[in-house]
C-alpha cells in the first residue's frame, strides 16, 4: 500500500489534492453532497494504490535468445518466459524490454492476466544493422490500476547479450602458397609423410607407448620425450587487424574500418571452414580460435572491436611475435606511412607468406584532385615497401568487393600488380625477387 502510494501518478496526486480542497469547501459550506465528491475522489487513489500495491506477485522471468550470435542484418528471436510463482493470478502487466535503440523500438507487451502458477511465453524479434554487443533487458514490468491513478514499475535485473557479428561474405576457395607450414596437431592438415625424418620429438603424454620413447632426447631434455612418427603439417593463419584510429576514415557503419572488420571476419570464417587454425591479433587482443568454439571467439571479438586512438603498429607486431608459430599472415591495414610500412614489413615470418589488404581509406572520403593524387602516391609508396619486404599486397578501395580481391591475391604472383605498376621504382630499388 505504501509502495502503491509512492507510485501515484500525477493524476492520482491531483485527485488527492482536489479531494482535500473539495472536502474543505464541503465543510465550509456545510454541503454533505460535496463531501461525497470529496470522499469519492479521495478514496479512488487509495483504492488504486491498494489495488496496485496488493499484488505481491512472485514472477520469474527468463529470457532466451535464438541465436545469441547473429550476423548484421539478420533477425534474432527473443523469447520471454514469464512464470507466476504465487498462488494469485496477476492483474494486467505492462511489459517493456529495454533494448538499445540500434535494435529497434522497445517491445511493449500487455499481459492481460497470468493465472496462478501459470507460465507464458512471448517472443519478439530484433534486428541490428550495426555489429556490436547489445544488452537486452532488463525487463521492466509496470503495474497500473484501472483509473490510471497509480503506476508501479519493477525491473527484473537479468540482462542478456546479443552479439551481432560483422557481415561475412563467402569467399571463393583458392589456394594460397605457404599454406602448409609449421607444426602442431590441427586435424585437418595433419599429413603423415612417408620417409620423413623421424627425429622430431615431443614431450611424453599420458598414453604414449613406452616403446616410442626417444631416450637420447630424454637424456638431453631431462624429461620423457617420444619420437614423433608423424610429421603433422598444419595450416595456420594469423589475422591482423589494424585498429589505429589514424589508419581509418569515415564514421558509423559506412566507415572504412567496418569494411576492414567485415573483411577480417569473412576471411576468418573462410579459413576456418577450410580447416585453418586461426589466430587474431589486434591492438590488445590475441585470440586463438580453439576447436571447441570454432570461430566464435574471433567473431565475438570482431563484433565489438573498436578503433583505438592509442593503438600502435609496433605493439601489434610485438603481440604477433609473442608466439612465433609461423604460417600465413593476413593483415588488413589502414593507411600507413612509410615508417609504418617498415614496421609492418617485419611482421612476415622468415619463410611464411604474408598477405596485406591495404585499405585505401582515403577513398572513403571525397578528396580534391591534388589531394587524391597525393594520397595515391603515398599509398603506392607504402605498398612498395611491403612488396619489397616480400608481402603480397592488395589495395582495397571504397566499393571493392572482398571476394574479387581474394581471388586476386591467389591468382597473381606476389605483389605482381604492384610491381607492374611500380616497374620504374622497382628497377631503381633493385632488391626484388
Amino acid at each position: 500500500m505504501r509502495e502503491g502510494l509512492r507510485g501515484l501518478t500525477t493524476r492520482g496526486k491531483s485527485f488527492l489534492a482536489c479531494a482535500v480542497t473539495v472536502a474543505l469547501a464541503a465543510l465550509a459550506f456545510g454541503e454533505k453532497d460535496l463531501l461525497r465528491v470529496a470522499v469519492l475522489i479521495g478514496v479512488l487513489p487509495l483504492l488504486a494504490s491498494w489495488y496496485v500495491g496488493r499484488t505481491r506477485y512472485k514472477l520469474a522471468c527468463t529470457r532466451s535468445l535464438e541465436p545469441t550470435r547473429t550476423p548484421v542484418g539478420a533477425t534474432a528471436r527473443v523469447v520471454l518466459r514469464l512464470q507466476n510463482l504465487s498462488a494469485l493470478p496477476t492483474g494486467t502487466l505492462l511489459l517493456e524490454d529495454r533494448l538499445p535503440y540500434a535494435l529497434g523500438s522497445r517491445p511493449r507487451l500487455v499481459l492481460e492476466r497470468l493465472g496462478r502458477r501459470q507460465a507464458s511465453s512471448v517472443a519478439y524479434s530484433v534486428r541490428a544493422d550495426v555489429r556490436g554487443r547489445y544488452e537486452i533487458g532488463p525487463l521492466v514490468i509496470r503495474l497500473t490500476d484501472p483509473f490510471g491513478l497509480c503506476e508501479l514499475a519493477r525491473a527484473f535485473p537479468s540482462v542478456d547479450h546479443l552479439i551481432v557479428t560483422p557481415t561475412v561474405v563467402p569467399l571463393p576457395a583458392v589456394r594460397l602458397t605457404g599454406e602448409y607450414t609449421g607444426s602442431g596437431d590441427s586435424r585437418a592438415r595433419s599429413v603423415a609423410v612417408h620417409g620423413e625424418d623421424d627425429a622430431a620429438t615431443r614431450e611424453y603424454r599420458h598414453g604414449d607407448d613406452l616403446r616410442r620413447v626417444h631416450w637420447r632426447s630424454t637424456a638431453r631434455v631431462g624429461e620423457l620425450m617420444v619420437r614423433r612418427e608423424e610429421q603433422p603439417w598444419e595450416s595456420r593463419a594469423t589475422l591482423v587487424l589494424d585498429v589505429r584510429r589514424t589508419g581509418h576514415r569515415g564514421e558509423g557503419p559506412t566507415a572504412s574500418f567496418e569494411w576492414a572488420v567485415s573483411a577480417i571476419a569473412s576471411i576468418a570464417v573462410h579459413l576456418r571452414e577450410s580447416g585453418y587454425r586461426l589466430r587474431l591479433v589486434t591492438d590488445l587482443a590475441d585470440i586463438e580460435a580453439s576447436d571447441s568454439d570454432g570461430d566464435g571467439a574471433i567473431l565475438d571479438h570482431l563484433a565489438e572491436v573498436k578503433l583505438s586512438p592509442r593503438a600502435d603498429l609496433g605493439r601489434i607486431g610485438e603481440g604477433l611475435r609473442r608466439r612465433a608459430d609461423g604460417g600465413l599472415v593476413i593483415a588488413v591495414l589502414g593507411m600507413l606511412s612509410t615508417e609504418d610500412a617498415d614496421v609492418v614489413a617485419r611482421w612476415r615470418w622468415a619463410s611464411g607468406t604474408a598477405i596485406g589488404f591495404l585499405v585505401d581509406s582515403s577513398t572513403w572520403l571525397t578528396l580534391p584532385e591534388p589531394a587524391r593524387l597525393e594520397a595515391d602516391r603515398a599509398r603506392a609508396a607504402t605498398a612498395l615497401r611491403l612488396v619489397q619486404a616480400g608481402w603480397r599486397v592488395t589495395g582495397a578501395a571504397h566499393g571493392d568487393r572482398l571476394p574479387g580481391l581474394w581471388q586476386q591475391v591467389s591468382r597473381g604472383a606476389p605483389g605482381f600488380a604492384w610491381r607492374a605498376a611500380m616497374a620504374e621504382t622497382v628497377t631503381t630499388a633493385g632488391g626484388t625477387r
Binding site: 500487455v110 492481460e112 484501472p146
Partner: protein, 820 residues
C-alpha cells in the same frame, strides 16, 4: 482513431449520466430527452470531426456548431433557417428564453416545471459541458479534467437544495465519470503494446480487458464508500462559515437559486390576514372532537426589533425516526391519540423551507417521504425540497391537556439548560416592559402563576382590543407601541406575551398556525387565509412547550383550561369543551416526575413507552431476521447433510444394512458370505474417503485401499492409533472387496474417529472449518449430480424434440411414399 471513438462514446454517455442530478431539480423528465439529443449531437460531431482528422480547434468548432444547431432545433426557435440554423432574430429569441428562464428560476420553487426557458438553459448548459468533456477526454486525453464540468452539473442541485440531495443521482453520475476514466485507462493500456493472455494467446482489440473488470469492482466500492462515509459524519447541517460569522441559510441574501432566508412568517401572516380576498388554504379532518390549533412554524429568536423565525436546521426525516417521543409523563398531563388528514389546497411558503401544518405532539406521519424533516427544536415539520403545494398527508398526534396544578407543579428549569436560550431578551429591552412585567408578577411564586398573570393582562378590562390594523406609535418599539395603544391582532398579542414571559425570565416563543376556522363540516375543517393565527408557547420544566393564546377570542379560537380567556379567567370557555376534560387514569398514573420528551436535552435518549404505531418499521426487521435465518440455514445444509450421512454410515455399520443372503452353490460347496461385514467395511471406507476429501487430502480412485492407507499415513506422518485405524480400514475394505470371506477384526468406528481427528489436526483452521461447514465431499457430489442431471435433462429434451420433430416432419410422409 478507432480507439478514441470508444472514449468519445464513453465521454458522451458519462456526460449524460452526470446530468442525472438535475432530476432532483426538475419536476418532469423532459430535460433528460433534451440532454440526450444535445449530447448525442455533440458527441457525433466530435467523432465525425476526428474521423476527418480535424485539428483540435476544428473539432471544438464542429461540436459547438452541432450544439447550436441542436439547441435551435429543440427550442423551436422562430426565424431559424431550416429550423436549425439560427439567424439574428433567433438569437433575439434565445435572449428572451434566457430572461424567461431567469424569471422562472426566481418565480418557481423546487422542483421547477419544464418551461421552455429552463429547458433551453439546461440543454445549452449540458451541451457546453458535453463539449468540454469531449475536448478534455478525447482531444486533450485528460479525462480526469473532464470531472470538473461534470462536477459543475452536480453543483447545481447541491447548491439549489438546502438539505442533502438523494445519493442516487450522485451514484449514477460518479459511475459515469469513473467509467470514462476506466475506458481511457484501458485504452491507454491497449495502446501500450501487443496484448496477450497468460495462456499465450494474443488478445484482439475488441476483447474486454480484465482491467476494466477490476475497474468496475473498484468503482462500485469507491462509490459505496463515498455514499456511506458522509452518512456517518454527524452534524454537517450547517457549514463552518455559517457558524463563524452567521452567514448561512438563515439570513443570507436570497438570490433566487438559493433559498437562504426563511419566509418572514410575520409578514406572511400580516399579508394574509389583511388580504381582502378569503380563500381556502387547506382542509383538515380529525377524529379529535376538540382539536387545538393546527400549527406549522415557530419564531423563537428575539431581537430588539421583535421575534424572528429562522430556517430550521436540526431536522431529521420524519420517516427515519425523526419524530421524538410525543408522550409526556407528568402528573396532570393527559394525552389522547387522534388521527388527522390534511389536504392542502393553496398553502405554500413560496420558497424553502416549506412548513407542513400539523397538530401538536406529533406521533407519526403517513404519506410523507424522507424529504420531510422534523425539527425537534421548534417542533415543526418542514422540507427544503418538497413543496407543500397540493400535498395530502395524514398523521397521528397526541392531543395534550394540562391541569393548572400540573403546570404549577412543573419542575424548575435548570439554569444551565440550553432551553434558557429561549428566555433571553435583547439587552436594550424597553424599560416600560420590564416595569410592567415586574408589576404583574409581583407576589406570584410559580412559573404558571406568573404566566397566567401576564396572560390575564391582555383582557378587555385593560382596554385591549382586536384589530387587524395597528396604530402607529412614537416609542420606536413596536412592542411598546402595542402595549400603549392596546390594539392589534394575534401577532401583536403573541409577540407581546412571549416577550413579557421572557422578561419574566421564562422561555417563550411564538407559534404560527391556523385556528379552527369558521367553516366546519362534521370533523372536517376548511381553513382559509383568514384563519392564520399566532400564539405564544411557554416552556415548563418537565412538561415542555405549553400553548397560551393571549388574543381576544374570535371565531375559531380555542380557550383551554390552563390558558383561559383573559376576559373570563374562571370559565373554561371554548367552542367545544369535550376534549379538554381530564382523563384521570390517563397516561400519567405513575406520579413520578417525568421528563419532557420534547426537551432538546433529552432528545435521542428515547426511553419511556412509545405510543408509535409504526408497524412498518418493525416489519422490515422481521424480514431481515428471516433473511438472515434463511441464509444461515442455507449455509448449514451441506454440513448437516454431511453429519447425517456420517451418522447413517456408522449406524449402518452397527445395524447391518442388508439381510443375510446365503448363496448356495448347486454343488457340494456352500459359500456363506457375510454381507453385513462387507456393507460395514464399504460404509466405513466410503466415510473415510469422504473424510479425506473433506480435509483436502488427495485420494485417487485408481489406488487400492491398501495403497490409499499407506500413502495417507506417509503423507500426513500418522503414527499410533490413527495409523493403525487407517490400516485396519484399508484391510477391511480390501477384504470386503476381494476376499471370499472377509475377516474383519477391530472396531472400524473407533478407527474412523481417530483417523478423522488425526487428519483434522494436520490441517489449518480454515480447512477444518470448511470441512465442517461446507464439506467438499458433499458439495462435489451435488455438483456432480447437478451436472449429470443437467446433462440428462438436456439429453431428454433433445430426444423429445427429435421425436416431436420426426413425428411432425412432413418428410416422414414423403419418405413413406417413396418407399411405397
Amino acid at each position: 482513431m478507432n480507439q478514441r471513438r470508444s472514449v468519445a462514446l464513453a465521454a458522451g454517455t458519462a456526460t449524460l449520466l452526470a446530468a442525472t442530478p438535475l432530476s432532483t431539480v426538475f419536476a418532469t423528465y423532459s430535460w433528460a430527452i433534451y440532454c440526450a439529443f444535445v449530447i448525442g449531437a455533440v458527441t457525433g460531431a466530435g467523432i465525425a470531426a476526428r474521423a476527418l482528422r480535424a485539428r483540435l480547434w476544428a473539432q471544438l468548432l464542429a461540436m459547438l456548431g452541432a450544439l447550436v444547431v441542436m439547441v435551435t432545433w429543440l427550442a423551436h426557435a422562430p426565424h431559424a433557417f431550416l429550423g436549425t440554423i439560427p439567424t439574428r432574430a433567433t438569437l433575439q429569441s434565445f435572449a428572451d428564453l434566457m430572461s424567461s428562464a431567469t424569471a422562472d428560476i426566481e418565480k418557481s420553487g423546487l422542483p421547477v416545471p419544464d418551461t421552455p426557458g429552463l429547458l433551453f438553459l439546461t440543454s445549452l448548459g449540458i451541451g457546453l459541458v458535453a463539449v468540454l468533456v469531449d475536448v478534455c477526454a478525447v482531444g486533450l486525453r485528460r479525462p480526469a479534467i473532464a470531472g470538473f464540468p461534470m462536477l459543475a452539473i452536480y453543483a447545481v442541485p447541491v447548491f439549489v437544495h438546502v438539505d442533502s440531495v438523494s445519493p442516487i443521482p450522485f451514484i449514477i453520475g460518479a459511475l459515469g465519470f469513473l467509467w470514462l476514466l476506466v475506458t481511457d485507462s484501458v485504452d491507454r493500456v491497449r495502446r501500450f503494446g501487443r496484448r496477450f493472455t497468460g495462456d499465450g494467446r494474443g488478445v484482439d482489440v475488441w476483447e474486454p480487458s480484465p482491467l476494466s473488470a477490476a475497474g468496475r469492482r473498484l468503482a462500485f466500492f469507491g462509490v459505496a464508500v463515498a455514499v456511506a462515509l458522509p452518512l456517518f459524519l454527524p452534524g454537517m447541517t450547517s457549514g463552518v462559515l455559517s457558524r463563524l460569522n452567521g452567514y448561512g441559510p438563515g439570513n443570507g441574501p436570497g438570490n433566487g437559486n438559493r433559498p437562504g432566508p426563511a419566509v418572514n412568517l410575520f409578514a406572511t401572516l400580516a399579508g394574509q390576514l389583511n388580504n381582502g380576498k378569503s380563500f381556502e388554504m387547506l382542509k383538515v379532518s380529525t377524529n379529535d372532537p376538540n382539536p387545538y390549533y393546527l400549527r406549522f412554524a415557530v419564531a423563537d429568536e428575539l431581537t430588539a426589533s421583535g421575534f424572528r423565525n429562522n430556517a430550521p436546521g436540526s431536522g431529521q426525516a420524519v420517516t427515519a425516526k425523526g419524530i421524538p417521543d410525543p408522550q409526556i409523563n407528568h402528573k396532570g398531563v393527559s394525552q389522547h391519540e387522534y388521527h388527522a388528514n390534511v389536504t392542502i389546497t393553496d398553502f405554500d411558503m413560496g420558497r424553502a423551507p416549506y412548513y407542513l401544518p400539523v397538530y401538536q405532539r406529533l406521533a407519526g406521519t403517513q404519506r410523507l417521504d424522507g424529504s420531510w424533516l422534523y425539527d425537534y427544536l421548534g417542533d415543526q415539520v418542514y422540507s427544503n425540497r418538497s413543496s407543500t403545494k397540493g400535498k395530502a398527508y395524514s398523521f397521528d398526534y397526541l392531543s395534550t391537556t394540562y391541569t393548572k396544578a400540573a403546570l404549577r407543579a412543573a419542575d424548575l428549569i435548570d439554569p444551565q439548560s440550553s432551553i434558557r436560550e429561549y428566555a433571553r431578551v435583547p439587552t436594550q429591552e424597553p424599560a416600560q416592559v420590564d416595569k410592567l412585567v415586574n408589576q404583574l408578577i409581583q407576589g406570584k411564586t410559580t412559573e404558571y402563576d406568573k404566566v397566567e398573570a401576564i396572560l390575564a393582562y391582555f383582557s378587555t378590562d385593560n382596554h385591549f382590543q382586536y384589530s387587524v390594523t395597528t396604530k402607529a406609535g412614537t416609542s420606536g418599539s413596536d412592542l411598546v407601541d402595542f402595549l400603549t395603544n392596546k390594539q392589534g391582532y394575534c401577532q401583536q398579542y403573541a409577540v407581546a406575551m412571549a416577550w413579557m414571559v421572557r422578561a419574566a425570565h421564562y422561555p417563550a416563543r411564538v407559534a404560527f398556525g391556523f385556528t379552527r376556522g369558521s367553516s366546519r363540516q362534521g370533523q372536517t375543517y376548511s381553513l382559509t387565509n383568514q384563519d392564520l393565527h399566532a400564539w405564544t408557547e411557554v416552556y415548563f420544566g418537565g412538561i415542555g412547550w405549553v400553548p397560551f393564546d393571549a388574543t381576544p377570542p374570535r371565531s375559531g379560537s380555542v380557550k383551554t383550561d390552563w390558558a383561559p380567556d383573559a376576559n373570563n379567567p374562571t370559565a373554561s370557555s371554548g367552542d367545544d369543551n369535550g376534549g379538554s376534560t381530564q382523563t384521570p387514569g390517563g397516561v400519567d398514573a405513575s406520579g413520578e416526575v417525568g421528563n419532557a420528551p420534547h426537551d432538546p436535552r433529552d432528545f435521542g435518549s428515547g426511553g419511556g413507552s412509545v405510543v408509535t404505531t409504526d408497524s412498518g418499521s418493525t416489519a422490515w426487521r422481521w424480514w431481515l431476521l428471516g433473511a438472515v435465518l434463511a441464509l444461515l440455514i442455507a449455509f448449514a445444509v451441506p454440513g448437516v447433510r454431511r453429519g447425517l450421512l456420517r451418522r447413517h454410515r456408522l449406524a449402518g455399520r452397527s445395524r447391518g444394512p442388508s439381510p443375510d443372503v446365503t448363496v448356495e452353490a448347486p454343488g457340494q460347496m456352500q459359500v456363506v458370505t457375510e454381507p453385513a461385514a462387507i456393507g460395514e467395511a464399504h460404509a466405513a471406507w466410503d466415510e473415510l474417503v469422504d473424510t479425506l476429501v473433506d480435509y483436502d487430502v488427495p485420494v485417487s480412485d485408481a489406488h487400492t485401499p491398501r495403497v490409499v492407507a499407506r500413502r495417507v499415513i506417509k503423507e500426513l506422518d500418522l503414527f499410533g492409533e490413527p495409523a493403525d485405524g487407517l490400516r485396519l480400514l484399508g484391510r477391511a475394505e480390501e477384504q470386503a472387496r476381494y476376499a471370499r470371506v472377509p475377516e474383519v477384526s477391530g472396531d472400524l468406528g473407533a478407527g474412523l474417529r481417530s483417523v478423522r481427528r488425526a487428519v483434522a489436526a494436520t490441517r489449518p483452521r480454515r480447512a477444518r472449518l470448511r470441512a465442517i461447514v461446507l464439506p467438499p465431499s458433499v458439495l462435489r457430489r451435488w455438483r456432480y449430480r447437478i451436472g449429470t442431471g443437467g446433462a440428462g435433462l438436456i439429453n431428454r429434451v433433445g430426444q423429445v424434440r427429435d421425436t416431436v420433430v420426426a413425428a411432425l416432419s412432413p418428410r416422414r410422409l414423403l419418405a413413406r411414399r417413396g418407399t411405397r
